[in-house]
């Protein structure tokens, strides 16, 4: 497991530990090698290597497994949470608290004593239409409302974005893909610092807002071709049509996803290049 792969799980553990009221600096983290644990520790995190609770030993601790292997042959008087890696509870082993498995592998022998055992339930999508299309309906409602307001108050903003996207799809697509990806990487790495986690979340939400702004602009453009004189209504219908078309595209294997990504990249680039529609984008002129 590389640092990049391990870090998100450690971030999750740190947040869980912090929320449980235990000081984070009292965590004992194992990264490598073989270790036998005894005595009392507030929180133990197995991030790599092998950790064993020997038989006839009692450990008073919350234990998190994010990588490596934890073998419990003795007793753990606390909760054990498995986020990754492997947990083995031998016949002689006991966990008095809750054993919670979110991911990774958990192997509990028949003779082992477990206080309570929970597993992350694999939830099937709700069978009803709202369960299936609830997110889409929510998007249509919120973006439709945004389109209604912007189409009536600032139609030129939306026109500039859509015109730039259709006139310069390659440039907007390239800028959108490059900016979107580099910002995504930057925000994810910001999250790893913990200190910049709020900035990272805000940044990711900002990226999402840019994409939705582009959706509104595309929807507005579609709306201008509809046979209705009411600009607000046309924009709402356009956004609805656009989102439905995007949803249907997703049903086409591979090609649908490629087209969806291209649309998002073009929209993202168009919004950035037009400064949210404040002005139309004009490429640099090269003298012949």
């Amino acid at each position: 497991m590389t640092p990049t792969e391990a870090l998100p799980l450690l971030v999750v553990v740190t947040l869980l530990v912090a929320s449980s009221g235990v000081a984070v600096d009292q965590m004992t983290v194992t990264y490598t090698g073989d270790h036998a644990v005894d005595g009392r520790e507030d929180v133990s995190v197995v991030a790599g290597g092998t950790v064993t609770v020997p038989a006839d030993t009692t450990v008073q601790s919350q234990v998190y497994v994010v990588g490596g292997t934890l073998t419990v042959a003795g007793t753990v008087t606390g909760d054990v949470t498995v986020l990754g890696g492997n947990l083995t509870v031998a016949d002689t082993g006991a966990i008095t608290g809750t054993l919670e498995t979110l991911a990774g592998t958990t192997d509990v022998a028949d003779g082992a004593a477990i206080g309570e055992r929970t597993r992350l339930p694999v939830t099937e999508p709700a069978a009803g239409p709202f369960g299936q299309y609830g997110a889409l309906v929510f998007q249509i409602l919120t973006l439709g409302l945004a389109a209604w307001i912007l189409a009536r108050r600032r139609p030129t903003f939306l026109e500039n974005v859509a015109r730039t996207a259709t006139a310069h799809p390659v440039v907007t697509g390239v800028v959108g893909a490059l900016a979107g990806l580099t910002l995504l990487v930057l925000f994810v790495y910001m999250a790893f610092t913990l200190l910049l986690l709020p900035v990272s979340i805000l940044g990711l939400l900002g990226e999402l807002a840019v994409v939705f702004y582009a959706y509104v602009a595309f929807g507005h453009r579609i709306g201008t071709h509809l046979p209705t004189a009411h600009t607000g209504l046309a924009a709402v219908l356009g956004v609805t049509g656009f989102l439905l078309a995007l949803e249907l595209l997703g049903r086409i294997p591979l090609l649908g996803a490629v087209v969806q990504i291209a649309v998002v990249a073009i929209g993202f680039g168009a919004v950035l290049l037009t400064f949210f529609g404040l002005r139309e984008f004009h490429p640099a002129t090269i003298p012949q």
Partner: protein, 432 residues
């Protein structure tokens, strides 16, 4: 693009010009990034028995010598009006390729320091004459609107070949491969430069007249860019910064087995192919941005990409330092980002200098541009890298320094652009 017009009109002679320019650029750059940058280190350390520091000093000497030879060649070219004489340029290039062929043949047999030194002197001379002459061919062969895409193609082909089919970094392997590649090139260039075959003579003569339309670079309108003007010096300083940042970081990365064996020298084909594809993507993006945006925004992107790349590298190192159990893991994303950044600025380097020149200044401008930004930056970054190595600076501190430099250049450039805009607005504002 002019290219599509030529293709539609089946204008084969101008199209041949594109092919010739791309082939020369790819061959020259491939020779530079493999044989010169990697092969000579192997020759000096393994076969001649010099220390890594001594070889680095010789490499720095090669860079300086190349710069001097290039500037002399460029100035002579412009003063004598060679910038518009395609035949002369092809003949000069043939001589350079012939010299490099002999030097490439000789290199694996070198075992002594004086012979190594002689190779460096002759090699520097060949490179110094070669690059202003080859870059100046853009004025004869490539229409101004197409220079970005053509530069992108040259960059993509070079780096794809170098990464998808990586050779063992040894002088013998590089020598064998390049000798096979140079032989037909030498022959074709010789036939073209000789002008003895009528149909080819007509082709070269026609190509030789194209400078009248293509000769004035993109940034030389309405007035040509002067060598001492800010319009030339600012891109020169920025390109120097780009080369310096890249070279200073890369010198340490290739010196760290954990980093290089998990990326550029990985035994996994998929990893190398990923880097090769990243190079192609980077070049394509740069080609598109170069055509559609003003120069300063292309520079902003380059520094941003380098800063982000080094943030990725240093973050991995910091985590590995914090969590020693994970040490040794290196995300393939880092090398891919590095590849995008390198392709980005290489594309710019191919297109920029001819676009900052006319046929009267193309020799001097390409010589100073590539010489100072490329070779002098390499010389200085090698010296700094050596100093840091002798000071036993850790990998993290070294890359942190490079990262700081990239960030400084990025924010310096953005601040400079803002101040420039501010001054323009202030000038436009009505006086009370």
């Amino acid at each position: 693009m002019q290219f599509t017009t030529y293709l539609r009109d089946r204008a084969w002679t101008p199209l041949l010009g594109y092919g010739l320019f791309i082939a020369l650029m790819v061959a020259g750059y491939y020779y530079n990034i493999t044989f010169v940058q990697l092969g000579l280190i192997d020759l000096g350390t393994r076969l001649v028995g010099l220390s890594a520091a001594a070889v680095s000093m010789w490499m720095a000497a090669l860079a300086l010598l190349t710069l001097v030879a290039a500037v002399i060649t460029g100035v002579v070219m412009d003063r004598r009006g060679w910038g518009t004489d395609l035949y002369l340029k092809l003949r000069l290039l043939w001589l350079v390729v012939a010299l490099q062929f002999v030097l490439t043949l000789w290199a694996p047999g070198i075992r002594s320091v004086p012979a190594f030194g002689a190779w460096i002197v002759l090699g520097g001379l060949g490179l110094g004459v070669g690059f202003p002459v080859s870059f100046s061919l853009a004025a004869d062969l490539i229409p101004v609107p197409d220079r970005g895409p053509v530069a992108a193609v040259a960059t993509a082909v070079t780096y794809f070949a170098a990464n998808a089919y990586p050779l063992d970094w040894s002088i013998k392997v590089f020598s064998d491969v390049l000798l096979v590649a140079m032989l037909p090139g030498l022959l074709v260039l010789g036939v073209l430069a000789a002008g003895r075959i009528d149909c080819l003579d007509r082709v070269v003569t026609q190509l030789g007249t194209q400078h009248q339309r293509f000769g004035r670079g993109r940034f030389c309108h309405p007035t040509p860019v002067r060598t001492r003007s800010l319009a030339f010096l600012v891109p020169l300083v920025l390109m120097f910064g780009v080369f310096f940042v890249d070279s200073l970081g890369f010198l340490r990365i290739i010196d760290t087995p954990a980093l290089v064996l998990s990326s550029w020298q990985s035994p996994e084909l998929s990893t190398r192919l990923g880097i090769a594809v990243a190079h192609v993507l980077g070049a394509a993006i740069a080609g598109i941005l170069y055509v559609n945006f003003d120069l300063e925004w292309v520079f902003v992107w380059i520094f941003a990409l380098f800063a982000l790349t080094h943030i990725l590298y240093t973050t991995d190192l910091r985590i590995a330092e914090l969590l020693p159990g994970f040490a040794g893991g290196n995300s393939p994303l880092n090398a891919a980002m590095y590849a995008v950044a390198v392709s980005f600025y290489t594309t710019l380097n191919f297109a920029l200098w001819p676009d900052l020149a006319t046929t009267d200044t193309i020799g001097t401008h390409t010589a100073i541009g590539v010489g100072v930004a490329g070779w002098l930056a390499t010389f200085l970054s090698t010296a700094v890298a050596l100093f840091l190595q002798q000071a036993e600076v850790t990998l993290l501190t070294h890359l942190n320094l490079v990262n700081a430099l990239a960030l400084l250049l990025l924010f310096g450039l953005i601040a400079g652009l803002y101040v420039q805009r501010l001054l323009a607005v202030a000038r436009e504002a009505p006086t009370p």
